[in-house]
Amino acid sequence: MAVVTYIEAIRQALFEEMARDERVFLMGEDIGAYGGAFKVTEGLSEKFGEKRVIDSPISEQAIVGAAIGASYMGMRPVCEIQFIDFIACCFDMLTNFAATSRYRNGAGVPIVVRGPCGGGVGGGPFHSLNPEAFFLNTPGLKMVEPSTAYDAKGLLKAAIRDDDPVLYFEHKFLYRRIKDEVPDEDYIVPLGKAAVRREGTDLSIITFGAMVYTALDAAKALEEQGVQAEVIDLRSLAPLDKEAVLESVAKTNRALLLHEATLTGGIGGELAAIISEHAFEYLDAPVMRVASADAPVPYAPPLESAFLPSVSKVVAASKRLVEY
């Protein structure tokens, strides 16, 4: 066991998977000698050579399109989208080509498309996105977003070994802020499995990514007020671990859905529907959501902090729920 940062865990996963399987290779912008905009791929080009760590033109459609083609040939491409906001540029390739390929003709597309998501770093409208809702309505894609270094490594390894296209969102706020213990031996975190980050009896805060820490801080504040919040970290957004969500809600009878993407049409709406369809009789209060304001991500620090969900917003919503 070694304590490593979230970003180091991602790098280790790439390194180990490339060493394990010659078919794994990387494509992306500035990922070679430069090591990537956030240095996720630092040292990989030196180790594996520029034929397996391919610096691409600024062409997200070509990166993902070429990954699809290479995966048809049995390769296992991992694409880096420099900032996940730019995934919009290859939306067509992902939703129309990659997601439908297996269904249409049985030709699987085992690719991983990974990149830094999320706000809280003053990135403004085009360097702060949380894009999961864009893809949630696309059958054929899988999506994950780790919150710990352990999960960052285990989920990435699982994504690379998976036979379907996986979008892997890594929260840039966590890159160097989060450190935890990562085993020395090979392991994976299976796709589609949530984790209970904190046990509680009074309400379930269902969240993922950087918001896990907001939820845990809120749970600590709530505990001082005699409220025991359970925190569920979804880890996988497609497929969703419905069982874990429903099990927690059946226990606490109250659900607060927390995500960093904007509110309307967000993944919280889907979770609310799942809970009301399958756990309606367990609920003692309406399902509530805390998410970013329905606006593009603003740049100025006072604007961005007002925009993002915060500990105080989560505490306030939780109290409304338990007092309902």
Partner: protein, 362 residues
């Protein structure tokens, strides 16, 4: 070559009948007048290469040996079609077993020169099966995918050439430019066939691009490009052969501009009244199959009776294959959610291939 072009035309004639009987589901997109360039280009490939045709490249599919029944099953949305009724017309895919053979390692030397034998991966029996990746309706997307096929096969130590066809309209998409540029930078063994067939649906080429030669699309990417008379099958074959050979030799991507004409509307519903009559008349005289017939007869390669016999063979073969496909059942609605993810695969990327009756004469 004549057989493949004639067969493509006869298959489409048969499809027109089935379309009028409402047995073809959705639209029918013909390649009338473009059979020659589809065949001439694909004919330059090995049977183990990769093809990414568009809807008007029936001739390329026939040249690669795709069984005509596969086309009819697909167009009639049958349960036994390549896509199991999930997708239409020539949106078909074939992956030879070697592509899915996960036990074999990737090729270590990614710079395999042409003289070096391909690394033996997968079964020998599929060595002559092509990779076939049909288009999706977002035209242009095939080009980055074709580049990736070329790069991926090279990484696995295969000497495979990837050939993709694209219409003049689709050369205006971003995906086309991104894909061609990436292939050029990577020196990927890709040959792109850019077809100037004068109209993209109803839009004339002058409103599609300000250049007059479609092959100049490639000029910005530093790759060889040439224009060819697309209705002269031998000329098409000659330039395709050169571009395929240089791709196989590791010299990288290229683009062939094809001057041709779409002789019918975008699809069967479209009467193409926007096409000037004189233009159609002018191109009718240049029909690629008629021209090739003349070449064969003039050079003494075949006489008129032999050609007529080949035509009869093609017509009855297309009819037999269509009849067999027609008898096939429609898909079962209970299967709609199968095969969205791995582990529950339903459609298979497997096509049936047939040998040309003239294979030995080729």
């Amino acid at each position: 070559m004549y057989w493949f072009a004639r067969l493509a035309r006869e298959i489409e004639e048969r499809l027109v009948i089935l379309f009028r009987q409402s047995k073809v589901i959705g639209g029918l997109y013909r390649s009338l007048g473009q059979e020659g360039e589809s065949v001439g280009t694909a004919y330059a490939l090995e049977k183990s290469d990769a093809v990414l045709p568009l809807i008007r490249n029936m001739g390329a599919l026939m040249t690669m040996g795709v069984r005509p029944r596969e086309i009819f099953l697909q167009y009639m949305a049958k349960g036994e079609s390549n896509s199991r009724g999930r997708d239409l017309n020539i949106h078909i895919v074939h992956m030879p077993a070697w592509t899915r053979d996960l036990s074999s390692p990737a090729g270590r030397d990614t710079d395999a020169p042409a003289s070096r034998p391909a690394l033996q991966v997968g079964r020998d029996t599929d060595a002559k099966e092509p990779v076939v990746v049909g288009p999706i309706s977002m035209l242009g997307d095939s080009i980055p995918v074709a580049a990736g096929i070329a790069m991926g096969a090279r990484m696995r130590g295969r000497t495979l050439v990837s050939m993709a066809w694209i219409g003049d309209g689709a050369t205006s998409t971003g995906a086309f430019h991104e894909g061609l540029n990436f292939a050029a930078v990577q020196k990927a063994p890709l040959v792109v066939i850019a077809e100037d067939n004068k109209f993209a649906y109803s839009t004339p080429i002058a409103r599609q691009m300000a250049i007059t030669r479609i092959d100049e699309r490639a000029a910005a990417y530093g790759i060889p490009h040439e224009m060819v008379d697309g209705n002269d099958m031998l000329a098409v074959y000659d330039v395709a052969r050169r571009m395929v050979d240089r791709a196989r030799a590791g010299e990288g991507a290229s683009l062939i501009g094809v001057d041709t004409m779409r002789m019918e509307g975008h699809a069967q519903h479209d009467d193409a009244r926007y096409v000037p009559k004189e233009l159609v008349e002018q191109w009718e005289k240049k029909d690629p199959i008629a021209r090739f017939t003349k070449v064969l007869v003039d050079r003494g390669a075949a006489n008129v009776e032999q050609i007529a016999e080949i035509d009869r063979m093609a017509r009855s073969y297309a009819a037999e294959e269509a009849d067999a496909a027609e008898r096939s059942p429609m898909p079962d609605p209970a299967t709609i959610t199968r095969g969205v993810y791995a582990g529950d695969d339903y459609a298979r990327p497997t096509l049936e291939f047939v040998r040309s009756p003239f294979a030995d004469a080729d």
